[in-house]
């Protein structure tokens, strides 16, 4: 402990903690920290704050990954709470990242192909396309959506299984809003987690397929995977 002003400034302590010093200065500051309690306390505080910021940034970040499928290049993104996006619409990685950043302006968007949730999503989607999987076991985070949309997509995910279809009006009835078929249609149309939340299983009450965000030919192919060619002929 010293009562004289230190030769190491607060900026110097910070630069040391961040690993930003040249070897000679780095060594000198390290030695100083062993001598000066005040600077040591300051450095410990910087370290802890840095960790808190890092864990906070990690908690809010969105990780994404892309991979090839029979449907073209597919994109998935997840945060701490689970999958927030499954898409094959964007015409390239840059467009995809921009879309994510627009959709989630408060979250850092980073390419993280090793993320366990994203790898699980890739594996399970491959299995689904190969006809080897009927249900997805993936955490999904729809918290960014309005409450009504969340209810619609929740019901769709949990109540309409592989190979089943449901009419927009029926889905509206199931969530207790029988007159809201149009709003249900909008919520389904804006489903951010394609396939995993099965918006392709929602059809018109007259038996025709209705639209699909990724293009109606995708809807036909997905329903074919699920053994529902009968619906294609009907429309």
């Amino acid at each position: 402990m010293t009562s004289q002003p230190c030769w190491v400034s607060e900026q110097g302590v910070l630069a040391f903690v961040e690993g930003d010093l040249e070897p000679e200065a780095e060594l000198a500051v390290a030695r100083h920290l062993a001598e000066c309690e005040e600077c040591r306390d300051q450095a410990a505080e910087f370290r802890a704050l840095e960790d808190a910021i890092a864990s906070g940034v990690a908690a809010v970040a969105l990780r994404w990954h892309a991979f090839g499928t029979p449907f073209g290049r597919m994109y998935v993104a997840a945060g701490e709470g689970g999958l927030v996006r499954v898409s094959w619409a964007p015409p390239g990685d840059d467009a995809w990242v921009r879309e994510l950043e627009d959709r989630f302006p408060d979250r850092p968007v980073v390419h993280e192909p090793e993320d366990p949730v994203l790898l699980a999503a890739e594996r399970q989607l491959h299995e689904y396309f190969a006809g080897e999987r009927e249900d997805f076991e993936l955490p999904i985070d729809l918290d960014a959506l309005p409450r009504f949309s969340r209810r619609v997509l929740d019901a769709l995910q949990h109540e309409v299984g592989f190979g089943q279809v449901v009419a927009y009006s029926e889905l509206a009835r199931r969530i207790g809003r029988p007159r809201a078929a149009r709003a249900v249609g909008n919520a389904v149309g804006r489903n951010p987690v394609a396939i995993v939340v099965p918006c392709h299983r929602v059809v018109r009450s007259d038996g025709s397929l209705g639209g699909y965000g990724g293009g109606v030919e995708f809807k036909e192919r997905l329903l074919t995977i699920e053994g529902r060619e009968d619906l294609l002929r009907a429309s």
Binding site: D51, A54, S55, V57, A59, A61, D106, V110
Partner: protein
């Protein structure tokens, strides 16, 4: 690298005031050194790198001890509900309010700073690597991390302090 062992041990011991704690911390330093060795190989750089890693590990130990003492004195500690399971991290973890605030302030950073802070603080990438991924110069990568961290630090210091010590 192990040649620096004795002086490193003396250094950490001076910082912590305890030989047992010093050995404990040094063990972690060697694990780090073997898992992700320094990029440079000149002895001078290796030495200063080892001093940094050891000093930071000792600082973490000091901070954790202090928080543990505070917790024993009956002050509630902050536990991240679902963060990684390392004990130090749990003590450092921010509560729900802290996370909300981090999110809010991260949102205000320009995109480039946000990504740069992520790559440096979470992925712990070298500046050259960050520059490559951001498509900018190394100096600009450095500046982006610096500016972003400066803002986050300024905004979050009080929140963090309150949550960890209140």
């Amino acid at each position: 690298m192990e040649g620096f062992g004795p002086e490193l041990r003396a250094h950490v011991r001076r910082m912590l005031g305890s030989a047992d704690d010093a050995d404990d911390v040094l063990q972690r330093v060697w694990i780090t050194a073997h898992r992700s060795p320094p990029e440079a190989s000149e002895p001078g750089r290796v030495r200063s790198w080892l001093y940094r890693v050891a000093t930071n590990a000792a600082l973490d130990r000091l901070a954790a001890d202090r928080r543990r003492r505070a917790a024993l004195e009956g002050r509630p500690r902050v536990v991240a509900p679902d963060g990684p399971a390392s004990p130090d991290r749990i003590l450092d973890g921010l509560g729900p309010e802290g996370r909300r605030r981090v999110r809010e302030h991260v949102a205000r950073l320009p995109t480039k700073q946000r990504r740069a802070v992520w790559m440096r603080q979470v992925q712990e990438l070298a500046y050259a690597e960050i520059a490559g991924r951001l498509g900018c110069s190394e100096a600009s990568a450095r500046a982006n991390v610096y500016q972003g961290m400066k803002k986050l630090r300024a905004e979050l210091f009080d929140v963090w302090k309150q949550e960890v010590t209140s």
